[in-house]
């Protein structure tokens, strides 16, 4: 026991310490001894990392290699490798499909509307919360407003559809009570985008205030005092102190949100749409699901998915690049 502990103590010191010496020694090392050294130094960390590595290899990278099926006519019985090559057949098929433009338009518009209306909403709520002096009330509103973020999409979609139903839905009851005519919201293509965007705001507005509230607490209180002495009222303070104070945060979040504009969650659209409103509600990911999982055309569906993936990669990558250049946070 004693000896063992002493030994590991010594090796621990040797391994951990003397970084200057290591560099000198390293230059003279062969590849093999370098690997051996790396093994000795990192083997336990590699062991800790192994399950994670396997997860990424199997569930993230294997599917990427599986994307070769987009250039093949995938046959369930032959498997991925034995299926014949078809080149860009499925890509051409998609671009020549009259649905292509409709799907692109629906995906882009839904994302843009969500950005335009969904982005400012939490900022406004955060500014209002920031003005509250009563800490208990503030905390209570915050806690309540985070809640829908943790409710499942299935429940949110159910609520939306039932509340908007023309047969006894509460919204239509209200419209009739006010003397209007009931609207069949979920059957009219024109209503899908507003309904979707509003439900997104309802679900996530509170949660998204967190980051802005954090930025607001970091604004120097002395600036407010100085502004008061200069005779600034509430609005002037908001305009000249608060907003400039949180502007960097707003910029970074905006850029990251622009990067994610094409990443519309599959679940909620899938749960809310129906064939009557495909004209506005059908987006790339729901189309991919129907073509792939319901019609079994794996190659075609994956081609569409990959095409969209490449475009959204460009978006996210550029957004992160810009955010990084501006000195803000980024995904990596």
């Amino acid at each position: 026991m004693w000896v063992k502990q002493a030994q590991s103590e010594v090796s621990g010191i040797v391994e951990a310490g003397l970084p200057g010496l290591n560099v000198k020694r390293r230059s003279g090392m062969t590849m093999q001894s370098r690997l051996k050294r790396a093994w000795r130094r990192s083997k336990y960390l590699w062991l800790l990392f192994l399950p994670c590595l396997l997860y990424y290899a199997i569930f993230k990278y294997a599917p990427m290699f599986g994307l070769v099926i987009t250039f093949k006519n995938y046959n369930v019985f032959k498997g991925i490798w034995a299926s014949e090559w078809v080149g860009f057949k499925y890509y051409r098929m998609f671009f020549e499909n009259p649905d292509f433009w409709v799907l692109m338009k629906n995906t882009v518009l839904l994302g843009v509307y969500k950005l335009v209306f969904g982005f400012p909403a939490p900022i406004i709520l955060a500014l209002l919360l920031n003005e509250v002096r009563n800490a208990v009330f503030k905390k209570w509103v915050q806690t309540v407003s985070y809640l829908p973020h943790f409710i499942s999409n299935v429940i949110v979609a159910s609520m939306v559809i039932m509340f908007l139903s023309p047969n006894g839905g509460i919204i239509n009851e209200l419209i009739t009570a006010l003397g209007g005519k009931p609207v069949n919201f979920m059957m009219e293509p024109g209503w899908f985008r507003p309904v979707y965007v509003l439900s997104e705001i309802w679900q996530h507005i509170g949660w998204e205030t967190i980051i802005f509230l954090a930025a607001l607490t970091a604004v120097d209180p002395q600036l407010y005092e100085a502004a008061s002495i200069d005779g600034a009222n509430r609005w002037r303070k908001l305009w000249h102190v608060t907003l400039p104070g949180i502007a960097p945060t707003i910029m970074i979040i905006l850029i990251l949100d622009i990067g994610k504009v094409l990443e519309i969650g599959f679940e909620k659209v899938f749960l809310m749409y129906n064939p009557a409103i495909y004209d506005t509600a059908d987006i790339i990911s729901t189309y991919v699901y129907r073509v792939g999982m319901e019609q079994g055309n794996f190659s075609y569906a994956s081609s569409i998915d990959l095409f969209m993936g490449v475009i959204s990669f460009i978006f996210i990558f550029s957004a992160n690049f810009i955010s990084r250049r501006l000195g803000g946070t980024s995904l990596w």
Binding site: Y55, P63, R133, Y146, E267, M293, F313
Partner: protein
């Protein structure tokens, strides 16, 4: 003793405060009212619901709808499945994520940069729905518990959150562990894990909520109705209306409004656990989102 100006100033503030308070109360009402309404309708008598008289408080209070919902064996089996997937999935996810995150937080690990890049790349690009499905299927995970638990076992976002947290732990603590003869695995389990209980709680909750609410994975990877989790059953009962068997629909019958209160009762049954637990755990969620704000 207050001067006229101060009085005017104070009054202006109080007007703003009133308006602001009203707006925020409105936000809270819009958030909470749907739940109150559903609860009220599901607890009310048919007659009052059909007349549209129920708005805030149940009228003709009765628990018949809940008797029906809780009498449906499908709900119970779905509940059991969801709990199994959530508990097992969270446990597996936490083991893989925490160990991986610790290794990634150690910049002295050989290939540290390479591994980090490998993981971050998946945030930008993925194989997509169909190729992932083909991998899951070829592994024989379709229609098994593992299909619900393994494909989502690591969330890159959670992994990076944990890595950031671990990076902030002073290196001296690790050194002291090494002095005591611990290797990196020992340091992780004996020193890092006990120091990181709050972050473990937070990330576990993120995973648990994610699995509890997930609809897409069971939609893609499950065919066997006996394995369906709550979300799928809920969607079939409430949204698709394609309820072929079971008491719930038989008694709901062709009466539209009663069917609505039955659906509301079903929604409440599946949501009440979250509504009850939420106030106690929400501070952990907020903490978790703050780790992300200071990541480097």
């Amino acid at each position: 003793m207050v001067s006229a100006g101060e009085v005017r100033g104070r009054r202006r503030i109080s007007l703003f405060t009133i308006v602001n308070t009203l707006i925020l109360l409105g936000v809270a009402a819009v958030t909470l009212y749907p739940f109150v309404y559903m609860l009220a309708v599901s607890l009310s008598g048919d007659v009052y619901v059909m007349k549209g008289e129920v708005t805030l408080w149940p009228k003709g209070f009765n628990l018949r709808m809940y008797d029906l919902v809780l009498g449906d064996p499908k709900i119970w089996s779905a509940y059991r499945n969801t709990i199994i997937y959530t508990v097992l999935g969270t446990a597996i996810a936490m083991i893989i994520t925490s160990m991986g995150a610790y290794a990634l937080s150690r910049s002295d690990m050989t290939f540290h940069k390479g591994f980090t890049l490998l993981i971050v790349f998946t945030m930008f690009f993925s194989g997509g729905m169909i190729p992932t499905f083909l991998v899951v299927r070829s592994l024989g995970l379709v229609d098994t518990i593992w299909g619900m638990v393994l494909p989502g076992a690591v969330s890159t976002w959670n992994l990076i959150l944990m890595r950031t947290f671990f990076s902030g732990i002073p290196k001296e603590l690790e050194e002291s562990g090494r002095m005591d003869g611990l290797n990196d695995i020992g340091i992780f389990f004996r020193i890092i894990v006990p120091l990181s209980k709050p972050v473990f709680a937070t990330i576990s909750l993120f995973y648990a909520v994610g699995i509890w609410n997930n609809f897409m994975n069971p939609l893609l990877y499950l065919r066997n109705p006996d394995l369906f989790p709550l979300q799928v059953i809920l969607r079939n009962l409430v949204l698709a209306g394609s309820v072929s068997s079971g008491q719930v629909t038989q008694i709901g019958g062709d009466n539209m409004v009663v069917e609505d209160s039955l659906k509301f009762a079903t929604i409440m049954v599946s949501t009440i656990p979250i509504l009850i637990i939420y106030p106690f755990v929400q501070k952990y969620f907020v903490k978790g989102s703050m780790i992300g704000a200071v990541k480097g």
